[in-house]
Amino acid sequence: MRILKIEILKIFNKRRSYIGFVAVLAMVFLVFLAMYYEGQDLLGFLTQNLENTFVFHGNLINGNLFAYIVLKSLWVHFPILVVLVTGDLISGEEQAGTFRMVLIRPVSRFKLISAKFIAGLLYVSLLVLFMAIVSIVLGRVTFGNGDLLVLMQTVNIFPADDAMWRLVLAFLFGIVSMGTVAALSFFLSAVTGNSLTAILGTLAIVIVLTFVSAFNIPVLVIVKPFLFTTYMTSWQSFFYFEMNTAQIIFDLLVLLIHIIGFYLLTVLYFNRKDILS
């Protein structure tokens, strides 16, 4: 427990750990400006063919839609913010040469790596929760409450109270998705011993695999079920009108297995590693 506290302190003593929080604030603010000035136009564009036949009552540009749009940025931007910190957790110390000093003390490598890993996951959770709280609170205060309009294969409209728990669950799923990215970067951080390589390597893997998962490229369709990126976007499953709970649980388990897998690989690798720096 003490090691965990120290590792958490180490993370928050680094300036780069706050880049993520500042970037989230900036991102949320930009989405706010976009929605404030363009929200009605966007909605008008989506509903233009219906406006001749129907009249709409109620406010669809609301806090729930705002939080949903912010949440969508998880897919593209968030991994960058995550790996900036988690890709440096092991390699940072290796490059600084502090491991030798730490490991001569009576602390096992397993405990040290586990503490670092948990601290990394806590950081990711805090970052996602920070985004969730900022977007939900700012959205509610500025745009008010209302039904949530989501375009999946159809136009789905969820009542406000229904939308709220879907958003909360989606953000929680986002923690697991980003936890997987963090676990991969943690593993690469141990293997490469270089923060830059670990960060860029993780981003390259995530971008390429996300591309394969997102597009239906005929030759590569067969590998999609074996890529963790296929399951990372499953937070969107909470916004299907009829939610497939079994599929969501399966996707969640696949990601958790990846997180545990990367963690065990890191422990195995680090236990046998010669600390030479």
């Binding site: 129907f54 969508k72 159809t154």
Partner: protein, 223 residues
């Protein structure tokens, strides 16, 4: 021979003209009586339940409260987002103004066992959004039981009206319509990015239905 043929022809034309004339008068009276039923209403309020049955829209049934006060005050209160057909009771009142339309009798038809007169209304104004409206008016009580409207830009829609008790306003309205061009060819908001080539052509027609059920009517009639 020629003279007698001419006489028969003139007689036949006169007969036909007389029959047509009497039908126009009947239709105008029917329209007037039907309009009178609605125009006697000074104000009304009701609770409504809106059920949207459209392929591309998924939403739960919605409750709302509506208020109408003659001639133009119309208010809808609902907790959340609500989709309502534009062709409500208010536009129908407008359409029943025979001065603004060419009225054409189009036969009779039984709907749910009740004999109805079919009346076509063609707007006199060339800029009107509506190209043609057809009303089915029940002969026994002058109530409108069906309206089909063809618009110039928004396709066509059909409204079936169902009545309970002696109220002049419907207890249920079934609004069937077709909308073309509501497509999302690139599912950029879905789980993956998929291009639907068929939808890119943008000529698909989507059919749908909105059912509005009215309850707790509070109607005030003009003195």
């Amino acid at each position: 021979m020629k003279k007698s043929m001419k006489r028969i022809l003139v007689f036949a034309l006169l007969l036909l003209n007389g029959q047509l004339f009497s039908q126009v008068v009947d239709v105008m009276q029917l329209l007037d009586s039907s309009a009178q039923l609605l125009q006697n209403i000074e104000s009304y309020s009701a609770d409504i339940l809106v059920k949207v049955d459209v392929d591309f829209i998924r939403m739960p049934d919605k409750k709302a409260h509506i208020e109408y006060r003659s001639p133009n005050h119309y208010k809808v209160e609902s907790d959340g987002f609500l989709i309502l057909p534009k062709m409500g009771m208010k536009p129908m009142l407008k359409q029943l103004d025979a001065d603004k339309f060419h009225v054409v009798f189009n036969g009779e038809e039984a709907i749910d066992g009740a004999n109805c007169v079919i009346v076509n209304l063609v707007p006199k104004e060339r800029k009107s959004k509506v190209a043609l409206s057809t009303f089915w008016i029940r002969k026994s009580d002058y109530r409108i039981v069906r309206v089909e409207t063809f618009t110039k830009k928004s396709g066509s829609f059909l409204v079936d009206l169902y009545y309970k008790d002696e109220l002049p306003l419907p207890s249920e309205m079934h609004f069937s319509f077709e909308v073309s061009g509501f497509n999302i060819p690139v599912r950029f908001i879905g789980k993956s990015i998929e291009m639907d080539k068929a939808k890119l052509k943008d000529d698909e027609v989507n059919a749908g239905k909105v059912i509005v059920t009215f309850s707790n009517y509070n109607i005030r009639f003009q003195n």
